[in-house]
């Protein structure tokens, strides 16, 4: 007759015996060791947005939606432009109608259920347009929360979503501090800006960079010291969004104002 102590011992040995060989393989997996040694790579994509140059035409948003097959009339977009109007008495009004797909064509500011806000031009202290897109963070919160390994970061720093692997749980949509993720209306999986991965891996620029008539958007490789974007980031006063989250965002802004969230 087996007693309780014996049963527990044997059960632990059996369970340990099943688990141990798998973990042993994991520790000595030569592929993984190699990957960790060579983890650096020659490319790390970064983005530079010059707020002083943006006029809010929205050509970037239009080009992005067409290039990346995001349904044109659905109210979702991988990149968008926000308008900030700060009055002289310190009030800030922000809008981004349709993500600025059609640009900003009226002085009235869309305040959702409060209607269109008209501001007397005399009262405007400052106003500017802020393009937003995925920050391709060095510590992407959206990747950490994915329970199935459907979203991940490539060696060159781009966070991608595996559409055949995503289960649509929405953790990443909630986890992103910048709100860049949404559900794709056709594929019903998480969708996000990937710096036009199909273009940059061919040596092209992103669709939004090519569409911008004012040079407000630029893409570069931070590991290349000769890259003009790298030179600006390392020598000029650039800023990032929500630095306090510790995500190490890789979209840098020139002329960022404190009103921008």
């Amino acid at each position: 007759m087996i007693n309780r102590r014996e049963f527990c011992k044997k059960a632990m040995i059996v369970a340990g015996g099943v688990v141990l060989p798998l973990t042993l393989l994991e520790v000595f997996n030569p592929k993984r060791l190699r990957a960790e040694r060579d983890g650096q790579g020659k490319i790390r994509w970064v983005f530079l947005v010059d707020i002083n140059k943006c006029v809010g035409c929205g050509f970037c948003v239009k080009a992005c939606k067409i290039e990346n097959e995001v349904p044109y009339d659905a109210n979702v977009t991988r990149t968008w432009v926000e308008r900030y109007v700060v009055t002289e008495d310190g009030q800030t009004f922000i809008d981004s109608p349709k993500g600025a797909r059609d640009g900003f064509t009226t002085q009235k500011i869309d305040q959702a259920h409060q209607g269109m806000k008209e501001i007397n031009p005399e009262e405007i202290g400052k106003a500017f347009f802020v393009p937003k897109l995925c920050n391709q963070c060095e510590n992407p919160a959206c990747v950490q929360v994915c329970p199935v390994g459907a979203t991940y970061q490539t060696q060159d720093g781009i966070v991608l979503v595996d559409r055949s692997w995503c289960i649509g749980c929405g953790y990443c949509v909630m986890g992103c501090p910048y709100g860049v993720r949404f559900f794709h209306p056709v594929y019903h999986v998480a969708e996000k800006c990937n710096f036009c991965y199909h273009r940059i891996s061919k040596g092209m620029k992103t669709a939004c960079v090519d569409a911008c008539p004012f040079g407000a958007r630029r893409i570069g490789n931070i590991r290349d010291p000769e890259d003009p974007v790298t030179k600006i980031i390392t020598s000029e006063q650039v800023n990032v969004l929500k630095e306090e989250f510790g995500t190490k965002p890789q979209v840098f802004y020139l002329g960022l104002s404190r009103e921008v969230k």
């Binding site: 006029v55 239009k62 080009a63 059609d102 595996d162 061919k202």
Partner: protein
């Protein structure tokens, strides 16, 4: 040891075995830890290639210039030089094979993306020649009077001046 101890243990072992077998069959071979380590690089490697295969729609103005060199040089000498051809002519795809022709956006909505005036001091939007779209010939298309490839006011179409 008696059977009533071993029997449930066998069942557990079989269940674990089935789960492991199902896992090896269902999980693709290239699924695992890649360059970015366990926390950020846990994925199916071949998905990277799938993203790289997405069709390029916007081919950039350089490709336009390969054939339409006159039009290209014409707009490059104008105030609209910095606007990419495809912003108004639409994405090239594989033009001229597919599609044969491009749909040009001649709408008023396109022009006022930049030329609707905004009274924003210090912002370059206010330095772009702008109109109030509700007051400046609201019924007309901009291209009825203005030439998009050569937009200075004195280059307005002759019919518009008379």
């Amino acid at each position: 040891m008696k059977n009533h101890v071993w029997r449930p243990l066998y069942i557990v072992i079989v269940i674990v075995g089935v789960i492991l077998l199902a896992r090896t069959l269902l999980v693709p071979e290239d699924f695992g830890i890649h360059e970015r380590g366990y926390m950020y690089g846990w994925h199916r490697k071949s998905n990277e290639a799938e993203w790289k295969k997405v069709r390029v729609k916007y081919k950039t103005a350089k490709v336009c210039a390969e054939c339409h060199v006159d039009e290209y040089n014409y707009i490059k000498a104008s105030g609209h030089a910095s606007i990419s051809c495809e912003n108004c002519h639409g994405p090239a795809y594989d033009h001229p094979q597919d599609p044969v022709g491009l749909t040009i956006d001649r709408s008023r909505a396109l022009c006022i993306r930049c030329h609707s005036f905004m009274p924003y001091k210090g912002n370059i939007r206010s330095s772009i020649p702008g109109i109030d779209p509700e007051k400046h010939y609201p019924q007309a298309q901009c291209v009825m009077c203005h030439i998009p490839h050569n937009p200075k006011p004195m280059n307005q179409k002759r019919e518009a001046k008379s």
